[in-house]
Symmetry: C3
Subunit: 299 residues, 3 copies
């Protein structure tokens, strides 16, 4: 019996659900790496409904499905825009849910994944809906921490960059809090974590300098130019929230650096070769995690 039919928000999952998925993901690692074959999802079809592009997310869902023997149908960008013009999302989802076994949806509007799930005859997985949720990203973030730090509880985790608008950060903070981690917030004045989160969770606002020698995880996100009134201000801020090999001199041996990607300048390429860099592994971990989720809703 599946623990959930749809996966819309990380908030819908209990601590136990999360641990269940992470453990299942671990069993799929060899399949995800192409080292072991599986036909668990043979005969199943996934529809990727991406109303905005997200290469990594779409491709890793496609890889997850195909490595498990399933198949994938992608809606094209042109089809998406043609649908956006002429048909309700409800009708589209209703019809496509008659063709396939599971729908993965990405949509610019918050709430659209939940809305889609209400009109679907098959499981719907939210692959990001605007300012809303992106639960598979949160699960793969937790999985990365579990794999690279050995646990997901009792860690010191610093989140750095745009803490105001980043959907990824908001979901991750809640999950980290659920598992009793110590959370540090590092952001420019104008991109601080919204008050509503601070009421719910325990987190300290710090500078990277204050915590670099004690944190286990440094989660970096992009600071977007569009958030600033002028280019000068942006450059100044972005420059001081940039990680280089130099920045990491005082870091713990086993500090891991994560990033949801794509990165632009916020992590210098000099960091890539250090043992701290885990953001590319993090991207890979999306595959076994999505395998676990697909099996949960499909089997």
């Amino acid at each position: 019996m599946a623990r959930f039919m749809h996966l819309i928000s990380i908030d819908d999952l209990s601590k136990d659900d999360i641990m269940h998925i992470l453990k299942r993901a671990e069993e799929f690692e060899d399949v995800a790496r192409g080292l072991k074959r599986s036909k668990l999802l043979e005969g199943k079809i996934l529809a990727n409904l991406f109303f905005e592009p997200s290469t990594r997310t779409r491709m890793s869902f496609e890889t997850a499905m195909k490595r498990l023997g399933g198949d994938v149908i992608n809606m094209t960008a042109q089809e998406a825009s043609s649908i956006a013009k002429g048909e309700s999302l409800a009708d589209t989802v209703r019809i496509i849910s008659k063709y396939v076994d599971v729908i993965v949806i990405r949509h610019p509007l918050e709430g659209s994944a939940r809305f889609a799930s209400e009109h679907s005859e098959v499981p719907v997985i939210n692959a990001g809906d605007g300012a809303g949720q992106h639960p598979t990203q949160t699960l793969l973030d937790l999985y990365t921490i579990m794999k690279e730090c050995g646990r997901i509880e009792g860690l010191k985790v610093a989140l750095m960059g745009d803490l105001k608008y980043s959907r990824t950060v908001h979901s991750l903070i809640k999950a980290l809090n659920l598992f009793n981690n110590e959370i540090y917030l590092i952001s420019p004045e104008s991109l601080r974590l919204p008050e509503e989160f601070l009421e719910e969770i325990k987190a300290k606002e710090v500078t990277l300098d204050e915590v670099i020698d004690k944190i286990d995880v440094l989660y970096v996100t992009r600071i977007q130019k569009e958030r600033f009134p002028d280019e000068e201000e942006y450059k100044k801020v972005a420059g001081s929230y940039r990680i280089t090999a130099e920045t990491l001199k005082r870091a713990r041996e086993d500090l891991i650096i994560m990033h949801p990607l794509p990165r632009v300048d916020e992590i210098d390429v000099s960091v890539d070769k250090t043992k701290h860099a885990k953001y590319f592994d993090q991207a890979f971990y999306g595959v076994p995690v999505r395998m676990a989720i697909l099996c949960e809703v499909l089997l």
Copy 2:
């Protein structure tokens, strides 16, 4: 031995051919629903050449092929426009027919599917060519009637909306006439069925009010804004050709409502929950029907 190599026009099929496909489709329903596995088309490859987008048609062909164990290669929209600029359709089809086992083509120009079939080494299926034909739509319409009314002969069928330009309506009318159904036409003055059809088939022009209590099938199509000289006129007409739950009060218990989709406003969402609404099932029926067609040309 296949009954036909290509499927270009519904007119190419005899009554017997049509019945053969509908019966075969019925055998594929469980596979289409993902309840039963099949590898009938394993090793076969279908190329979707869509020179204009048509989400439902493309996706249901892809589902049909994949649920039968076959595989699909989609031409992208960018590739389509690049071909449109630099290469003849004949050359494109000639080459792609050397890669795959069957070609499904959608093209804005009438006659292009037939033209493509003349340059292909493998079967070509017409998925709509401009004002021309869309035979798999007609077959799935007939299949829907067969499944939902229990037969496709001796029924009272009303076609409503744009009867002048709708390719779907023109093909369906001919097929309905072939099977001796009583046909009612409901359309605004300016969107009446062209004379040439009325000479060939028996059909009465009526109002919905006149026939709502006796028809078995109400087939609704969209009235497009572009057909009207001004917005006011369009709104007035569209408003009076709109189906609501209210409209159906005097309808027979077993009336079914069909629509080729996408719909905009011509069927109110209040109708969706009534037992009359069959347009979403109709969309699903495209899968087993296309399975039957693919098997006919491929095996």
Copy 3:
């Protein structure tokens, strides 16, 4: 043991490597034609990263992979342009190489395939990088000659059209030279083969008239309008480098005509029906050749 991990340039291959691939391709012909089934690459995934469209190349790679039981993930054009804006090619390749087993890349910039291979954990195959290389095209050209002329050595081969900018021609000339063929060059003054090639290889500049009665292979390429300062000049030149059935009257019985396609006007359709026309077969031969290459790097 694979002879090479990546396939970036034809220059990376020895004569022996080339012969090895051509022979292997021959074994795959029946599978390529769909006459025989194979599961050699079952469980393997190929990612097509096309940063510019190339229908034939992409589709023939997809066919090759799928006919061998493997699967394919295509990056969409929208994703490509979104990557072009926001992320380095190095990061994209690094991540995608964690999802799949082999990457096929097409990119407008020369050198990008080699660059990609340096950041990939899996084999990278160059499917054309700007003015750079397109080694699978050269291999399928050689394969076509081998199949249609019975050998790839000691032949008289004329290359005609744009010999200055054509990447295809440059690679092929080197390969033909490697196998001791006699090379004739037929081009307008302004589109002559660059000096650097003439120093390396033996080739004679001739007119078609001078050699039409003795050549074994006539390889035609497109003359692009953009290369000429004015339309008049272009028309005059293009007109005199055009092949018609008439042109071939004095040709040897067994002359074969090749073209990398798409063609525009440089080969008249009247030639298509002659026994000389091999350009469509050439397109097909891309499939077994790419099968051989995929097996080389994946098994």
